[in-house]
Amino acid sequence: MKAFVIEKNNMKKLLQRFLEEYTVFGPNKPGPDSTFDEIKSIEQLHLDYVSTVLPPKKFFLPPKENLFSFDIKNGKFTIKQITSNEKILIFGIHPCDVHALLKLDKIFSGNFNDHYYQKRRKNTVIVALNCVEPSENSFCKSMQTGPFLNEGYDILLTDIGTNYLLEIGTATGQRLVNGLNFKNASKVDFQEKERRFKLMDKKFKKSMNTSWLPKIARENLDHNVWLDLADHGDVAGSFPCLSCGSCTFVCPTCYCYDIYDTMDLSLTSGTRNRELDSCQLLEYAEVALGGNFRRDRKDRIRHWMLCKFGAAAGGLNSSCVGCGRCIRVCPSKIDITEVAKTLRRD
């Protein structure tokens, strides 16, 4: 596929092109607490961001959405499907988050397609941005999901100094840069990309050894670390888990959701809603008549860790991508990389 170089102060031209066809979302402020927000002008776009609080899964699996609405008249039901055809473009999504989307793609396809997820995914253009400055909590290198990207993008940008290297991944990507007259990329530009990739190697502060990790996790269901995480604290300086569910909310590969109905006041119409759920909440594994398969906090935190280690039903499709968001938001300072180390007895 083709590659171009684009001067940093020429990014306006690229954004203008995107805005002609798409609603564009991108990081709206620098630093680790950025947000993917709607971008209407180049001043709003901050490609120097470190991470966002919420991952881009919010565009495909929104925290809350309506699946369909229904009317009840004389005991008869009519169902009206709700689907959106909005075309969006995500500008500046990091490799870890792209890998998370590739994993979610697998969860939401298979024998049964998830209509809502797939439709949104099809209507979205991914303009990815390679990471040249990792956040203090990220460990994408150990998870092989970063810091540079090889797949899953329509357009890929890399900061190579005064320019961005722009690589095309799909026909859609090519169509979007046609006619913009960017200079073709040279060998030197790719050498600079390679140099920056090598520089990144030494910048990571965290790591996680994943070899045999799913098997180790599965075979250590009664390891002390689970009770420590839940009740005693002090897994590398952590406090006991509060079961607040923040980790699952910010995790780019956490896909669990709840479905429930709401009725309007007249009791003649209503909607079926889907809302993100969390395995850390007590109600998650509840069944009829008050039964609960994960009543203990220990069982819930263990379930989440196993899921992120690739040892739950989602397998590697729900496993960690090393973005470090859960470490940043955890009020009890629980660090998934430290849990893995304790489990491995490293």
Binding site: N111, H115, K119, C256, Y257, E286, A288
Partner: protein, 276 residues
């Protein structure tokens, strides 16, 4: 693209009262084409919607009945309570069937031992009906069915028919039997019927369904009396939101109950149901 989340409307054709809180429903899709093409394997389940109350995963409880969709529902929560308030002629949303059914290919030519507790007999009734129809394809049939009290037993009107099936033994047991109960059954847990099991260990398949606690102990007891893990099949239950392996709620170990089950071979699920 087919939207798997949108239920199809069905009409309640007939309701049979099973116990004070359990009914059997015969449903038919409003869409005639859908009704004609509908087929399932006993052990599979459907998602039932009462709009405004929500959706629940419940097994299909018999085959045939003029191709009606048969399901037996006990009032244990808000959705099932709403279903029990519905009358004949009213409509309900259904989608499915989903999941894996009972292993009929494995059962062919072998003795079949059915162990069910409470509502656990519902997904197994289709198996009994099937064996009755294709009697020569299967060996000896044994049904052990237990409930809290004789009154809590469902399909009581079928017991006579089941006993009359050639080469079949029915063993009924209840935890507590009230004085003057007109009903004839033993007292005790299903496991108390195990010493009188006739099926030999070598050429039998065991089908197990009921409350999870019962399943765990019954499976352990069956192991003790000589059945091998891979001879035992069991049907598990979890709360499900999607039924199609996406929402995550029914995860048990490495399996989704909705996608990989609800019928599992004991070998596959054993490491997960015992310690947890």
């Amino acid at each position: 693209m087919i939207n798997e989340y949108v239920p199809n409307l069905a009409i309640i054709k007939k309701i049979i009262k099973e116990t004070h809180n359990t009914n059997t429903y015969f449903l038919e899709f409003l869409d005639k084409k859908l009704q004609k093409s509908f087929s399932f394997i006993p052990g599979q389940f459907m998602m039932y919607s009462v709009f405004g109350a929500g959706e629940s995963a419940i097994s299909l409880s018999d085959i045939d009945n003029n191709n009606a969709i048969t399901t037996t529902i006990r009032n244990v929560g808000s959705v099932t309570n709403s279903i029990l308030n519905l009358k004949e002629g009213e409509s309900i949303g259904i989608r499915g069937p989903y999941g894996a059914g009972w292993p009929f290919n494995e059962m062919k030519g072998k003795n079949v031992l059915i162990v069910a507790g409470g509502m656990g007999i519902a997904p197994l009734r289709g198996v009994i009906t099937y064996i009755k129809k294709q009697r020569n394809d299967f060996g000896h049939l044994e049904i052990i069915y237990g409930a809290r009290t004789p009154d809590d037993m469902i399909f009581k009107y079928e017991f006579g028919n089941w006993k009359r099936i050639k080469n079949t033994r029915l063993d009924l047991t209840a935890d507590a039997i009230p004085v003057n109960s007109p009903f004839e059954c033993k007292s005790g847990l299903v496991t108390s019927c195990f010493p009188s099991i006739k099926a030999n260990h070598k050429n039998s398949i065991v089908l197990l369904c009921g409350p999870e606690l019962m399943i765990r102990y019954a499976a352990k007891c069956l192991e003790t009396i000589g059945f091998k893990d891979n001879q035992i099949y069991l049907s598990l239950e979890r709360r499900m939101k999607c039924g199609i392996g996406k929402c995550g709620h029914c995860q048990i170990g490495l399996k989704y109950v909705c996608r990989d089950g609800p019928v599992f071979n004991y070998t596959d699920i054993k490491p997960f149901i015992h310690p947890l």
